[in-house]
């Protein structure tokens, strides 16, 4: 599995999304122009964008998950020791 397969999937999503918002005034002329001239380049750009996007969220998400996990574990520890001490 190459690094870009999830990117390709997301790129497909994003292109669909872009197509759906084509009538957004800023996007339409430029996207249409770009697609007309170099469709594969746009596709490639989208893939890289999607990969980068995934990376950002993966890293942030992983950190958040690890943080939550540690927080829960430490809270449990605190409760346990307090009970033991009769606090």
């Amino acid at each position: 599995m190459t690094a870009f397969e999830p990117g390709t999937f997301l790129a497909g999503l994003l292109s669909g999304l872009l197509a759906a918002i084509q009538d957004s005034p800023a996007v339409a002329p430029i996207a249409a122009g770009a697609s007309a001239v170099r469709p594969d380049a746009v596709e490639r750009g989208l893939r890289f964008l999607a990969t980068a996007y995934s990376v950002v969220w993966t890293i942030l998400g992983t950190y958040l998950v690890i943080l939550s996990f540690r927080l829960r574990r430490v809270s449990r520890q605190v409760r346990r020791i307090r009970e033991r001490l009769g606090l």
């Binding site: 950190y63 943080l67 829960r72 430490v74 020791i81």
Partner: protein
């Protein structure tokens, strides 16, 4: 919002959460989709680079957050060394950790941006190279903390490293800039020339969102640090208790 003061009284229960913390979280949760909308719907596609330019909206704010983490760590380190109050060290540690996280994001999104645009993964670009050095320094910071014998030593050593690291950053940047200056290729990872005002607004929205994210994570990380401190002091208390029948029912050392 920088340097939000964490109340000094211990948070007794992990369920209790001060109001401002909740507000912060909710604001962040709202800001994320709002800025996503601005980036992907409102902001126009840049002419030269195409869609890939939109990485800029994540890459650069992440870099800002990395610098924020480093700067905050340095300030907190100085405060800690001067006052020797634990809370400054807690924030310093959290800030450094977050700095590393955002630095990692910068270092990965940078090459992903560079590859389709310039055909190479690593351009030796000044800012990216300096960020790599920064990443190394603060990874060292975190490793050093782990290798200290106790909390106090870790805090002291980390404070030294944090201050040295922050002092070093501008010098590192300058030296790398001069070093690369002899090479004809000086690629700049900017937003693409002058920033279109709509792009500028989207970018500002992203910076705000990332800052909110940073602060949210900072609050949680500091909370984790406090709770870990509490565990340690409670364990010390438990160790000092004389052994009585009422102490525990089979629960030995919690280690």
């Amino acid at each position: 919002m920088r340097g939000a003061r964490i109340p000094d009284e211990r948070i007794p229960d992990d369920m209790m959460r001060p109001m401002w913390s909740r507000v912060l979280q909710i604001t962040t949760l709202l800001a994320v989709p709002a800025s996503l909308y601005m980036v992907f719907v409102v902001a126009p596609i840049e002419e030269k680079m195409g869609v890939i330019q939109k990485i800029f909206y994540f890459h650069v704010p992440s870099a800002f957050m990395a610098f924020l983490g480093v700067g905050l760590c340095a300030v907190m380190s100085v405060l800690y060394l001067v006052t020797r109050q634990r809370r400054w060290d807690l924030v310093a540690h959290a800030a450094a950790e977050l700095g590393v996280v955002f630095c990692t994001i910068v270092l990965i999104t940078g090459p992903i941006w560079a590859r389709p645009v310039w055909g190479v993964w690593w351009t030796g670009e000044v800012r990216l190279t300096s960020t790599l050095v920064l990443w190394l320094i603060y990874v060292g910071y975190l490793l050093l903390r782990q290798n200290a014998e106790n909390r106090e030593q870790a805090a002291r050593w980390a404070a030294i490293t944090g201050i040295v690291g922050a002092l070093d950053m501008p010098i590192i940047y300058k030296s790398v800039e001069w070093w690369r200056g002899l090479h004809p290729v000086v690629l700049k990872m900017s937003g693409g020339g002058g920033l279109d005002p709509v792009m500028g607004r989207a970018f500002a929205a992203c910076v705000v969102t990332f800052t909110l994210l940073f602060l949210c994570l900072l609050v949680e990380r500091v909370r984790l640090g406090r709770l870990e401190d509490e565990v340690e002091s409670l364990e010390q208390q438990a160790a000092r208790r004389p052994l009585t029948a009422a102490t525990d029912a089979g629960g030995g050392s919690s280690r």
